[in-house]
Protein backbone atom coordinates (compact mmCIF):
# COMPACT_ATOMS: atom_id res chain seq x y z
CA UNK A 1 0.00 0.00 0.00
CA UNK A 2 2.54 2.56 1.00
CA UNK A 3 4.97 4.49 -1.15
CA UNK A 4 6.42 3.46 -4.46
CA UNK A 5 9.95 3.29 -3.16
CA UNK A 6 10.51 -0.35 -2.28
CA UNK A 7 9.24 -3.93 -2.61
CA UNK A 8 6.35 -4.15 -4.98
CA UNK A 9 6.07 -0.41 -4.97
CA UNK A 10 6.62 0.02 -8.69
CA UNK A 11 4.27 -1.17 -11.37
CA UNK A 12 5.05 -3.94 -13.85
CA UNK A 13 6.89 -2.73 -16.95
CA UNK A 14 7.43 -4.51 -20.26
CA UNK A 15 11.00 -5.75 -20.58
CA UNK A 16 13.27 -6.09 -23.58
CA UNK A 17 14.51 -9.54 -24.69
CA UNK A 18 18.05 -8.54 -23.65
CA UNK A 19 16.89 -7.77 -20.14
CA UNK A 20 15.03 -11.07 -19.89
CA UNK A 21 17.85 -13.24 -21.20
CA UNK A 22 19.67 -13.77 -17.90
CA UNK A 23 16.61 -14.54 -15.73
CA UNK A 24 15.28 -16.81 -18.50
CA UNK A 25 18.61 -18.65 -18.68
CA UNK A 26 18.59 -19.03 -14.90
CA UNK A 27 15.04 -20.43 -14.98
CA UNK A 28 16.03 -22.84 -17.75
CA UNK A 29 19.07 -24.08 -15.83
CA UNK A 30 16.93 -24.67 -12.76
CA UNK A 31 14.31 -26.44 -14.86
CA UNK A 32 16.93 -28.69 -16.44
CA UNK A 33 18.26 -29.71 -13.03
CA UNK A 34 14.85 -31.26 -12.33
CA UNK A 35 14.77 -33.35 -15.50
CA UNK A 36 15.72 -37.01 -15.75
CA UNK A 37 19.34 -37.79 -16.46
CA UNK A 38 20.12 -37.39 -20.14
CA UNK A 39 17.17 -35.13 -20.84
CA UNK A 40 17.36 -31.38 -21.21
CA UNK A 41 15.38 -28.47 -22.55
CA UNK A 42 16.48 -25.47 -24.58
CA UNK A 43 15.01 -21.98 -24.65
CA UNK A 44 12.50 -21.08 -27.34
CA UNK A 45 10.71 -17.75 -27.22
CA UNK A 46 10.95 -15.46 -24.22
CA UNK A 47 8.68 -12.59 -23.29
CA UNK A 48 7.87 -10.97 -20.00
CA UNK A 49 7.79 -7.98 -17.72
CA UNK A 50 9.70 -6.63 -14.77
CA UNK A 51 8.98 -4.94 -11.46
CA UNK A 52 11.76 -3.04 -9.75
CA UNK A 53 12.18 -2.19 -6.10
CA UNK A 54 15.28 -0.71 -4.58
CA UNK A 55 18.17 -2.83 -5.76
CA UNK A 56 15.98 -5.82 -6.59
CA UNK A 57 13.90 -6.87 -9.57
CA UNK A 58 11.15 -9.40 -10.11
CA UNK A 59 10.78 -10.89 -13.58
CA UNK A 60 7.58 -12.53 -14.78
CA UNK A 61 8.46 -14.63 -17.82
CA UNK A 62 6.48 -16.49 -20.47
CA UNK A 63 8.88 -18.91 -22.09
CA UNK A 64 8.60 -21.74 -24.54
CA UNK A 65 10.98 -24.63 -23.92
CA UNK A 66 11.89 -27.38 -26.32
CA UNK A 67 12.46 -30.59 -24.41
CA UNK A 68 15.04 -32.52 -26.41
CA UNK A 69 14.73 -36.28 -26.62
CA UNK A 70 17.12 -38.22 -24.47
CA UNK A 71 19.97 -39.34 -26.70
CA UNK A 72 22.28 -41.12 -24.28
CA UNK A 73 21.42 -44.85 -24.37
CA UNK A 74 23.25 -45.35 -21.06
CA UNK A 75 20.73 -43.22 -19.19
CA UNK A 76 17.58 -43.10 -21.37
CA UNK A 77 14.80 -45.20 -19.93
CA UNK A 78 12.29 -44.81 -22.76
CA UNK A 79 12.49 -43.19 -26.15
CA UNK A 80 10.79 -39.83 -25.73
CA UNK A 81 9.74 -37.57 -28.57
CA UNK A 82 10.61 -33.93 -28.63
CA UNK A 83 7.94 -31.72 -27.08
CA UNK A 84 7.32 -28.02 -26.65
CA UNK A 85 6.35 -26.60 -23.29
CA UNK A 86 4.90 -23.24 -22.36
CA UNK A 87 6.23 -22.10 -19.01
CA UNK A 88 5.50 -19.25 -16.65
CA UNK A 89 8.45 -18.41 -14.43
CA UNK A 90 8.86 -15.79 -11.75
CA UNK A 91 12.50 -15.00 -11.07
CA UNK A 92 13.81 -12.48 -8.57
CA UNK A 93 17.20 -10.79 -8.73
CA UNK A 94 18.46 -9.45 -5.43
CA UNK A 95 21.90 -8.96 -3.93
CA UNK A 96 23.53 -10.24 -7.11
CA UNK A 97 21.64 -13.53 -7.10
CA UNK A 98 18.76 -14.95 -9.07
CA UNK A 99 16.09 -17.09 -7.40
CA UNK A 100 13.30 -19.02 -9.09
CA UNK A 101 10.15 -18.26 -7.11
CA UNK A 102 7.50 -19.90 -9.27
CA UNK A 103 7.43 -22.35 -12.11
CA UNK A 104 4.42 -23.57 -14.03
CA UNK A 105 5.01 -25.59 -17.20
CA UNK A 106 2.72 -27.58 -19.45
CA UNK A 107 2.56 -28.90 -23.00
CA UNK A 108 2.07 -25.99 -25.32
CA UNK A 109 -1.38 -26.87 -26.70
CA UNK A 110 -3.08 -27.85 -23.42
CA UNK A 111 -1.25 -25.03 -21.67
CA UNK A 112 -2.74 -22.49 -24.08
CA UNK A 113 -6.23 -23.74 -23.17
CA UNK A 114 -5.54 -23.74 -19.45
CA UNK A 115 -3.80 -20.41 -19.35
CA UNK A 116 -6.83 -18.45 -18.17
CA UNK A 117 -7.11 -20.64 -15.10
CA UNK A 118 -3.41 -20.57 -14.48
CA UNK A 119 -2.35 -22.01 -11.18
CA UNK A 120 1.17 -22.14 -10.00
CA UNK A 121 2.68 -23.41 -6.84
CA UNK A 122 5.84 -22.45 -5.02
CA UNK A 123 8.75 -24.74 -5.63
CA UNK A 124 9.63 -27.23 -2.96
CA UNK A 125 13.07 -28.52 -3.87
CA UNK A 126 12.70 -31.93 -2.25
CA UNK A 127 12.52 -35.17 -4.09
CA UNK A 128 9.03 -36.58 -4.61
CA UNK A 129 10.55 -39.93 -5.39
CA UNK A 130 11.44 -40.87 -1.83
CA UNK A 131 9.57 -44.08 -1.02
CA UNK A 132 6.78 -43.74 1.55
CA UNK A 133 6.97 -45.91 4.67
CA UNK A 134 4.83 -49.06 4.53
CA UNK A 135 2.49 -47.94 7.29
CA UNK A 136 2.15 -44.45 5.81
CA UNK A 137 -1.53 -44.69 4.86
CA UNK A 138 -2.47 -46.28 8.17
CA UNK A 139 -0.78 -43.44 10.02
CA UNK A 140 -2.41 -40.88 7.74
CA UNK A 141 -5.87 -42.39 8.24
CA UNK A 142 -5.38 -42.23 11.98
CA UNK A 143 -4.18 -38.61 11.74
CA UNK A 144 -7.17 -37.69 9.56
CA UNK A 145 -9.48 -39.20 12.19
CA UNK A 146 -7.77 -37.05 14.82
CA UNK A 147 -8.22 -34.00 12.57
CA UNK A 148 -11.95 -34.67 12.06
CA UNK A 149 -12.51 -35.08 15.79
CA UNK A 150 -10.39 -32.11 16.86
CA UNK A 151 -11.91 -29.65 14.40
CA UNK A 152 -15.44 -31.09 14.29
CA UNK A 153 -15.40 -31.73 10.56
CA UNK A 154 -18.38 -33.34 8.88
CA UNK A 155 -18.59 -34.22 5.21
CA UNK A 156 -21.83 -34.68 3.34
CA UNK A 157 -20.92 -37.82 1.42
CA UNK A 158 -18.46 -40.66 1.58
CA UNK A 159 -16.94 -39.38 -1.68
CA UNK A 160 -16.32 -35.96 -0.19
CA UNK A 161 -14.71 -37.54 2.86
CA UNK A 162 -12.43 -39.57 0.59
CA UNK A 163 -11.57 -36.47 -1.41
CA UNK A 164 -10.82 -34.44 1.73
CA UNK A 165 -8.68 -37.28 3.08
CA UNK A 166 -6.61 -37.31 -0.10
CA UNK A 167 -6.11 -33.54 0.21
CA UNK A 168 -5.22 -34.01 3.87
CA UNK A 169 -2.58 -36.60 3.01
CA UNK A 170 -1.05 -34.37 0.33
CA UNK A 171 -1.03 -31.52 2.81
CA UNK A 172 0.75 -33.58 5.44
CA UNK A 173 3.46 -34.39 2.91
CA UNK A 174 3.67 -30.70 2.04
CA UNK A 175 3.85 -29.73 5.73
CA UNK A 176 6.68 -32.21 6.19
CA UNK A 177 8.61 -30.57 3.34
CA UNK A 178 8.02 -27.10 4.76
CA UNK A 179 9.21 -28.42 8.12
CA UNK A 180 12.38 -29.83 6.58
CA UNK A 181 13.16 -26.49 4.95
CA UNK A 182 12.43 -24.26 7.94
CA UNK A 183 15.48 -22.72 9.58
CA UNK A 184 13.68 -21.63 12.73
CA UNK A 185 12.03 -23.58 15.51
CA UNK A 186 8.53 -23.75 13.99
CA UNK A 187 6.51 -26.95 13.90
CA UNK A 188 4.20 -27.56 10.97
CA UNK A 189 1.52 -30.20 10.76
CA UNK A 190 -2.20 -30.67 11.33
CA UNK A 191 -4.18 -27.43 11.57
CA UNK A 192 -7.81 -26.58 11.03
CA UNK A 193 -6.92 -25.82 7.40
CA UNK A 194 -5.43 -29.25 6.68
CA UNK A 195 -8.30 -30.49 4.50
CA UNK A 196 -8.17 -27.52 2.12
CA UNK A 197 -6.25 -27.40 -1.13
CA UNK A 198 -3.73 -24.60 -1.43
CA UNK A 199 -6.02 -22.94 -3.97
CA UNK A 200 -9.01 -23.10 -1.60
CA UNK A 201 -6.94 -21.75 1.26
CA UNK A 202 -5.64 -18.85 -0.81
CA UNK A 203 -9.05 -17.98 -2.19
CA UNK A 204 -10.86 -18.10 1.13
CA UNK A 205 -8.37 -16.77 3.66
CA UNK A 206 -5.72 -14.72 1.88
CA UNK A 207 -5.65 -11.34 0.23
CA UNK A 208 -4.32 -11.15 -3.34
CA UNK A 209 -4.63 -7.35 -3.48
CA UNK A 210 -1.66 -6.96 -1.14
CA UNK A 211 0.64 -8.34 -3.81
CA UNK A 212 -0.24 -5.52 -6.18
CA UNK A 213 0.13 -2.69 -3.65
CA UNK A 214 -1.75 0.03 -5.49
CA UNK A 215 -3.27 1.68 -2.46
CA UNK A 216 -3.21 5.24 -1.28
CA UNK A 217 0.28 6.63 -0.80
CA UNK A 218 1.11 7.45 2.80
CA UNK A 219 3.58 9.78 4.42
CA UNK A 220 6.80 8.00 5.39
CA UNK A 221 7.83 8.36 9.02
CA UNK A 222 11.43 9.46 9.31
CA UNK A 223 13.28 7.47 11.93
CA UNK A 224 15.37 9.64 14.22
CA UNK A 225 17.77 7.65 16.36
CA UNK A 226 17.80 8.69 20.00
CA UNK A 227 21.38 9.01 21.24
Amino acid sequence: APSRRDAGAQAWEPASPELLRRPARFALDTYNRGLAAGARAVLGTVSGRVRRAGRGSLYSLKVTLEELPCTDPMVCQLPVTKKTLLCSFEVSYELGKHALLKQDCGPVDTKMKDDKNETSSPLLPLSDRDPLPQDFYVRMASLFKYFITTYNRTYETEEEAQWRMSIFINNMIKAQKIQALDRGTAQYGVTKFSDLTEEEFRTIYLNPLLKEELGKKMRLVKFVGDP
Binding site: A7, G8, L58, S92, A186, G215, M218
Partner: protein, 214 residues
Protein backbone atom coordinates in the same frame (compact mmCIF):
# COMPACT_ATOMS: atom_id res chain seq x y z
CA UNK B 1 14.90 -0.56 20.65
CA UNK B 2 14.66 -2.33 23.98
CA UNK B 3 15.76 -5.99 23.75
CA UNK B 4 12.16 -7.20 23.97
CA UNK B 5 8.69 -5.77 24.00
CA UNK B 6 5.16 -7.16 24.24
CA UNK B 7 2.12 -4.90 23.99
CA UNK B 8 -0.12 -7.79 25.12
CA UNK B 9 1.39 -7.50 28.58
CA UNK B 10 0.63 -3.79 28.63
CA UNK B 11 -3.05 -4.12 27.79
CA UNK B 12 -2.88 -2.63 24.30
CA UNK B 13 -4.13 -5.68 22.40
CA UNK B 14 -7.65 -7.09 22.24
CA UNK B 15 -8.35 -10.82 22.14
CA UNK B 16 -7.61 -12.78 18.97
CA UNK B 17 -10.48 -12.51 16.49
CA UNK B 18 -11.58 -14.77 13.64
CA UNK B 19 -12.08 -13.50 10.11
CA UNK B 20 -13.94 -16.69 9.15
CA UNK B 21 -14.19 -17.68 5.50
CA UNK B 22 -13.54 -14.14 4.28
CA UNK B 23 -10.35 -12.46 3.01
CA UNK B 24 -10.75 -9.53 5.39
CA UNK B 25 -7.35 -9.80 7.09
CA UNK B 26 -6.64 -6.21 6.01
CA UNK B 27 -9.55 -4.95 8.14
CA UNK B 28 -8.39 -6.93 11.20
CA UNK B 29 -4.82 -5.69 10.79
CA UNK B 30 -5.98 -2.07 10.67
CA UNK B 31 -8.49 -2.25 13.54
CA UNK B 32 -5.80 -3.96 15.64
CA UNK B 33 -3.49 -1.05 14.97
CA UNK B 34 -6.17 1.56 15.70
CA UNK B 35 -7.13 -0.27 18.91
CA UNK B 36 -3.49 0.04 20.02
CA UNK B 37 -3.16 3.68 18.99
CA UNK B 38 -6.37 4.63 20.77
CA UNK B 39 -5.30 2.78 23.91
CA UNK B 40 -1.95 4.54 23.96
CA UNK B 41 -3.39 8.01 23.33
CA UNK B 42 -6.66 7.75 25.25
CA UNK B 43 -6.12 4.95 27.74
CA UNK B 44 -9.14 2.85 26.68
CA UNK B 45 -8.81 -0.50 24.97
CA UNK B 46 -11.86 -0.84 22.74
CA UNK B 47 -12.53 -3.74 20.42
CA UNK B 48 -13.29 -2.09 17.09
CA UNK B 49 -15.44 -3.07 14.14
CA UNK B 50 -13.94 -4.84 11.13
CA UNK B 51 -17.39 -5.28 9.61
CA UNK B 52 -17.69 -1.50 9.26
CA UNK B 53 -14.63 -1.60 6.99
CA UNK B 54 -15.81 -4.70 5.12
CA UNK B 55 -19.17 -3.04 4.38
CA UNK B 56 -18.34 0.65 4.10
CA UNK B 57 -14.78 0.92 2.70
CA UNK B 58 -15.82 1.08 -0.93
CA UNK B 59 -12.26 1.29 -2.28
CA UNK B 60 -11.34 -2.11 -0.89
CA UNK B 61 -12.94 -5.37 -1.87
CA UNK B 62 -14.47 -6.68 1.38
CA UNK B 63 -13.89 -10.46 1.56
CA UNK B 64 -11.94 -10.39 -1.70
CA UNK B 65 -9.13 -8.42 -0.07
CA UNK B 66 -8.03 -4.88 0.66
CA UNK B 67 -5.16 -2.62 1.56
CA UNK B 68 -4.45 -1.07 4.96
CA UNK B 69 -3.65 2.29 3.33
CA UNK B 70 -7.13 2.45 1.82
CA UNK B 71 -8.70 1.34 5.08
CA UNK B 72 -7.10 4.21 7.02
CA UNK B 73 -8.52 6.62 4.42
CA UNK B 74 -11.94 5.02 4.74
CA UNK B 75 -11.86 5.45 8.53
CA UNK B 76 -10.97 9.12 8.12
CA UNK B 77 -13.66 9.65 5.48
CA UNK B 78 -16.36 7.86 7.44
CA UNK B 79 -15.45 9.77 10.59
CA UNK B 80 -14.21 6.90 12.73
CA UNK B 81 -14.85 3.35 13.84
CA UNK B 82 -17.71 1.85 15.77
CA UNK B 83 -17.05 -0.84 18.34
CA UNK B 84 -17.31 -4.57 17.75
CA UNK B 85 -20.45 -4.66 19.89
CA UNK B 86 -22.19 -1.91 17.92
CA UNK B 87 -21.24 -3.16 14.44
CA UNK B 88 -20.48 -6.84 14.87
CA UNK B 89 -18.64 -9.12 12.49
CA UNK B 90 -20.58 -11.36 10.12
CA UNK B 91 -17.78 -12.44 7.77
CA UNK B 92 -19.55 -11.47 4.56
CA UNK B 93 -20.30 -8.26 2.71
CA UNK B 94 -23.48 -6.53 3.87
CA UNK B 95 -25.04 -3.17 3.13
CA UNK B 96 -23.14 -0.46 4.98
CA UNK B 97 -24.99 0.39 8.18
CA UNK B 98 -22.45 2.78 9.65
CA UNK B 99 -23.82 5.31 12.10
CA UNK B 100 -21.79 8.44 12.87
CA UNK B 101 -23.53 8.63 16.25
CA UNK B 102 -21.99 5.31 17.26
CA UNK B 103 -18.40 6.26 16.44
CA UNK B 104 -16.15 5.68 19.44
CA UNK B 105 -12.73 6.14 17.87
CA UNK B 106 -11.27 8.40 15.21
CA UNK B 107 -7.90 8.71 13.54
CA UNK B 108 -6.21 11.84 12.19
CA UNK B 109 -3.74 10.42 9.71
CA UNK B 110 -1.80 7.33 8.71
CA UNK B 111 1.89 6.76 8.09
CA UNK B 112 4.16 4.32 6.37
CA UNK B 113 6.96 2.96 8.55
CA UNK B 114 10.57 2.06 7.96
CA UNK B 115 11.67 -1.10 6.14
CA UNK B 116 14.50 -1.51 8.65
CA UNK B 117 13.50 -4.11 11.25
CA UNK B 118 15.57 -2.51 14.00
CA UNK B 119 13.79 0.78 13.39
CA UNK B 120 10.44 -1.01 13.28
CA UNK B 121 11.18 -2.57 16.66
CA UNK B 122 12.08 0.83 18.09
CA UNK B 123 8.92 2.38 16.65
CA UNK B 124 6.77 -0.46 18.00
CA UNK B 125 8.17 -0.19 21.52
CA UNK B 126 7.57 3.54 21.56
CA UNK B 127 4.33 3.88 19.61
CA UNK B 128 2.33 0.65 19.67
CA UNK B 129 1.35 -2.37 17.54
CA UNK B 130 2.02 -2.07 13.79
CA UNK B 131 -0.10 -3.12 10.84
CA UNK B 132 2.01 -5.23 8.49
CA UNK B 133 1.51 -7.61 5.59
CA UNK B 134 3.48 -10.77 4.90
CA UNK B 135 3.83 -13.70 2.58
CA UNK B 136 1.70 -16.40 4.25
CA UNK B 137 3.85 -19.29 3.00
CA UNK B 138 3.55 -22.24 5.39
CA UNK B 139 0.96 -20.58 7.61
CA UNK B 140 -1.71 -23.05 6.48
CA UNK B 141 0.20 -25.70 8.44
CA UNK B 142 1.87 -23.63 11.17
CA UNK B 143 1.39 -24.91 14.73
CA UNK B 144 3.95 -23.21 16.95
CA UNK B 145 7.53 -22.00 17.25
CA UNK B 146 9.46 -19.41 15.28
CA UNK B 147 8.94 -19.72 11.57
CA UNK B 148 11.92 -19.00 9.33
CA UNK B 149 11.31 -20.33 5.82
CA UNK B 150 14.03 -20.29 3.18
CA UNK B 151 14.04 -16.92 1.48
CA UNK B 152 13.04 -18.06 -2.05
CA UNK B 153 10.09 -20.00 -0.60
CA UNK B 154 8.74 -17.02 1.30
CA UNK B 155 9.59 -14.11 -0.93
CA UNK B 156 8.74 -10.51 -0.13
CA UNK B 157 7.34 -10.29 -3.65
CA UNK B 158 4.29 -12.41 -2.79
CA UNK B 159 2.71 -10.57 0.10
CA UNK B 160 -0.79 -11.95 0.64
CA UNK B 161 -1.81 -11.64 4.29
CA UNK B 162 -2.21 -8.64 6.60
CA UNK B 163 -1.55 -9.09 10.32
CA UNK B 164 -0.48 -7.11 13.39
CA UNK B 165 2.98 -6.88 14.99
CA UNK B 166 2.42 -6.73 18.74
CA UNK B 167 5.87 -7.45 20.10
CA UNK B 168 9.30 -8.91 19.64
CA UNK B 169 12.01 -10.70 21.58
CA UNK B 170 14.23 -13.77 21.57
CA UNK B 171 13.51 -17.40 22.36
CA UNK B 172 16.66 -19.40 22.99
CA UNK B 173 18.63 -16.75 21.10
CA UNK B 174 16.31 -16.89 18.08
CA UNK B 175 14.93 -13.39 17.45
CA UNK B 176 11.22 -13.24 16.68
CA UNK B 177 8.31 -10.98 15.95
CA UNK B 178 5.07 -11.78 17.82
CA UNK B 179 2.27 -11.47 15.31
CA UNK B 180 -1.44 -11.32 16.04
CA UNK B 181 -3.35 -13.20 13.37
CA UNK B 182 -7.10 -13.22 12.70
CA UNK B 183 -7.75 -16.95 12.25
CA UNK B 184 -9.07 -17.62 15.77
CA UNK B 185 -7.33 -18.99 18.85
CA UNK B 186 -7.45 -22.55 17.53
CA UNK B 187 -4.67 -21.77 15.08
CA UNK B 188 -0.95 -21.23 15.83
CA UNK B 189 0.07 -20.32 19.37
CA UNK B 190 -3.36 -19.28 20.72
CA UNK B 191 -3.91 -17.38 17.50
CA UNK B 192 -0.41 -15.88 17.34
CA UNK B 193 2.31 -16.47 14.78
CA UNK B 194 6.01 -16.13 15.55
CA UNK B 195 8.27 -15.14 12.67
CA UNK B 196 12.03 -14.76 12.51
CA UNK B 197 13.15 -11.17 13.11
CA UNK B 198 16.06 -9.42 11.39
CA UNK B 199 16.16 -11.23 8.07
CA UNK B 200 13.21 -9.68 6.28
CA UNK B 201 11.53 -13.08 6.55
CA UNK B 202 8.42 -13.35 4.35
CA UNK B 203 8.51 -9.61 3.66
CA UNK B 204 7.68 -8.73 7.27
CA UNK B 205 9.35 -5.33 6.84
CA UNK B 206 7.97 -4.14 3.50
CA UNK B 207 4.45 -2.95 4.28
CA UNK B 208 4.43 -1.60 7.82
CA UNK B 209 2.02 1.20 8.62
CA UNK B 210 0.07 2.81 11.39
CA UNK B 211 -2.82 5.13 12.01
CA UNK B 212 -2.10 8.40 13.82
CA UNK B 213 -4.34 9.54 16.66
CA UNK B 214 -3.63 13.05 17.90
Amino acid sequence: APPEWDWRKKGAVTKVKNQGMCGSCWAFSVTGNVEGQWFLKRGDLLSLSEQELVDCDTVDKACMGGLPSNAYSAIETLGGLETEDDYSYSGHLQTCSFSAQKVKVYINDSVELSHNEQELAAWLAKNGPISIAINAFGMQFYRHGISHPLRPLCSRWFIDHAVLLVGYGNRSDVPFWAIKNSWGTDWGEEGYYYLHRGSGACGVNVMASSAVVN
